[in-house]
Structures are given as structure tokens and as C-alpha cells.
Symmetry: C2
Subunit: 223 residues, 2 copies
């Protein structure tokens, strides 16, 4: 039995109060957004007094900014940019990249709070967004564009590569951010069979390869 008093769950203890607040805040903001998260909730989760957040961070808004930064820093540290063995085919890299992105965005169970917080920031940008884009999103997006460059044998312009890259991101994005609506539009058994990172990655990759002429067209399915 640990040291918490009430029935409420508590964030990983054995840590600095500042770190506990940052972690608790990240989880709460990821779950409920900035406005719907109360400092009292965060402090309960972190097992600290309400005044602690003002002591360490000054104000709620600053805490939010810091927790977004904390989220993508932690994420970058734990999961560095993907690399591949020298001989890997571009198509294989693409499938790997997309599968990876979908795993992060959908999770085999549920996305990590770090990813959910970052995606919330993408949907509703605040002051924390610019840094998130430069330090986390752009590097990943650049990797994707480089794969596409290889795939098209350097025949496409950077602008075209970016456009195709966005098309790929858009598809992943939909399944994350509009997942509930997708679940209403698609029959349940189809969801169960197809709606997992692996199957979706196969589809999105195939769609892209076919569009680039690196695979037979989609309407002629290969099994």
C-alpha cells in the first residue's frame, strides 16, 4: 500500500513533485483538453497541493505549454526517428513508416497520452504548437518525404513529395481523430477485421504505391 489518501489513482511516485505534476497534467490535458481539466484534478492525480502548480509553474497556461513540451521530448527520447538497413527497399520503408505512425496514432489498445496530447495540439493549436511542429512533426515528415523521393526515383518535385506525404498523413489522421464517426459509418465486423494498424498500413501503403505506379492498380487486388 502506498501513500495516497483517497481512492483516486496516483501518478508514478518516486519522483520529483515537479515531475509528478508534469506527468499528471499531461495525462489530464490529453484526456480532457485544457479548459476541461482543472488544476485540482491534476494535483489530486499528482498527490500534491493545489498551490504546488502555481509554485512550480506560475499559471495553468504555462503548465500546459510545459507539459506539451515534456510529452514530445519524452517521445523523441524513447522512440527516435526510424532507420533502416542499407539495402531496404523504399516500398518496405514506406510500409514500415506508415505502420509505425498508425501504431502510435491508434495504439494496439489506445494511444499513449503523449501522442494524444500532441494530436490535440495539432487540432487546436496553442503557443505550444510551433515548437512541437519543428522539433517533432517536421523531422518525421521529412523522413516520409525522403522515402517518397526514393520511391519516385527522384522524378517528383519537393512540392509533389510533400503533397503525397500529406495525403498519407491525412489518411492516418482520419482514423485517429474521426475514429468514432468512422466506426459509425463502417459495419462493425469490417471494423474488427480491418481497423488495426497493420491492415490499415497495408491499405494506405498499397494505395500510395499504386498511385505512384509501383504496384498494380487497387481495383485489381492481389491476394
Amino acid at each position: 500500500m502506498s501513500t495516497e489518501k483517497s481512492g483516486k489513482a496516483v501518478v508514478d511516485s518516486q519522483e520529483d513533485p515537479r515531475g509528478r505534476i508534469l506527468s499528471a497534467a499531461g495525462r489530464e490535458f490529453a484526456e480532457k483538453g485544457f479548459e476541461n481539466t482543472t488544476i485540482r484534478d491534476i494535483c489530486t492525480l499528482a498527490s500534491v497541493n493545489v498551490a504546488a502548480v502555481n509554485y512550480y509553474f506560475g499559471e495553468k497556461h504555462r503548465l500546459y505549454i510545459e507539459s506539451v513540451r515534456h510529452a514530445h521530448e519524452e517521445r523523441s527520447r524513447q522512440f527516435p526517428l526510424p532507420v533502416w538497413a542499407d539495402g531496404t527497399l523504399p516500398a518496405e520503408k514506406l510500409r514500415g513508416f506508415v505502420g509505425n505512425m498508425l501504431e502510435r496514432m491508434l495504439g494496439f489498445d489506445k494511444p499513449s497520452w503523449q501522442v494524444r496530447l500532441m494530436l490535440r495540439e495539432v487540432l487546436h493549436p496553442t503557443d505550444a504548437c510551433r515548437e512541437l511542429v519543428e522539433d517533432y512533426i517536421r523531422p518525421h515528415f521529412t523522413v516520409l518525404c525522403n522515402i517518397l523521393d526514393e520511391l519516385t526515383d527522384g522524378k517528383a518535385t519537393p512540392a509533389e513529395l510533400r503533397r503525397i506525404g500529406l495525403s498519407i498523413c491525412g489518411q492516418c489522421f482520419l482514423y485517429h481523430s474521426a475514429g468514432d464517426v468512422v466506426g459509425m459509418l463502417i459495419p462493425p465486423n469490417e471494423i474488427k477485421e480491418m481497423h488495426n494498424p497493420v491492415e490499415l498500413a497495408n491499405h494506405i501503403t498499397a494505395y500510395c504505391l499504386a498511385a505512384l505506379g509501383k504496384r498494380v492498380p487497387l481495383s485489381v487486388e492481389v491476394s
Copy 2:
């Protein structure tokens, strides 16, 4: 000069107070979301007393549900499902459909408050979502799937058609919901040239046609 008292703008008068509240609420909810919109703001915009919203709708949550319904009903009435002349090629229908969707989602200037409210509901579903999906989204999505069915000469299964349909929606969706981040990732001049409904519809349509083998691959651009 009209009848408003303060400097605040007012929703189209010459209407039922109930209608004025519904319209004002829709605009405010679309702009700021449920939690960040205050009943007082709505009532100021509608030129009614704060008590009126409770008199007509009981509670804020009910007003929200009603205003989402109001939004998609109005939208369906003003812009019925698209239809095409008999001989129209499927590829032409697809371009028309995608262009139409992008115009609604991005707007030549800015999307209407009705669309913004609906897309907010897609991102963060509430009780109003199910009806929105069944009455508005599903009919449109079905039209898209039918076009794709024509395009593939009936060779694709319904599940495949839906998957491709979602891929198309996902791309449009990204430009709407993550527009700010896209704007940070892409060079400004590229945004200016390409980031409008017409150009994006061309790209998304071409991407799809190429993937289905109904057009030369994307990496071999046709000008």
C-alpha cells in the same frame, strides 16, 4: 440603424427569438466549442435575455444538441446531395464531389459556421453525433462510394470501396482540421499556390484515379 443597444454585433433579426438563439448559438459553438461558449455570449449575440435560453431550451446542453441539428438540417436544405447529368464520366463525378467537399470544408474564404460546427462534432462527438452521421454524413459518403463503384466497374467489394472512400475523406479532413500545422510544414508560396479547393481537388482526385489505374501514375506528371 437597428435596435441593438451595445457595440456588439447581432444575429439576423426579423426572426423568432428561438430562431435567433439557435442561430447565435450555432455560430458561437462553431467558433469556440461547447465549454468555451457562454450562454451570456449567445444571448448578447441574439439580443435576448439570459433567461430566454432556459425558457426555450431548458439547458445549455439541449441548446447545443438542437443547434447541431439545426446546422445540418439547414445545410441539407440549402445544398442537396449532388447529382450529375446522365452521361457524366465517373472520373468527372469524383472530381466534382471532392471539389465540392473541399469547398465546404475549407471555404473560399472560411467554412460556414454550420460546417465548422459539424466538423467539431466529428472530432469530439457528443449525443448529437449519431443523428448527424445518419442524416448528413452517411448519405454523402454513400454517394462517394457509388462513384467509386462506377469507377472500378463494379470490380471492388463494398468494403474496399468504403476504404478508398475513407482515404479520400481523410485527405480533405487533414487540410481542414490540421490546416494550421500543414501551414507550418509547407513553404508559404506553396500554400498560396496549391492550398485552395480547386488545386487540392485535382491532386486528391488524381491520386485516387492513379491508384485505381484510371490514369497514368503520379510520378509521371501530365501537364
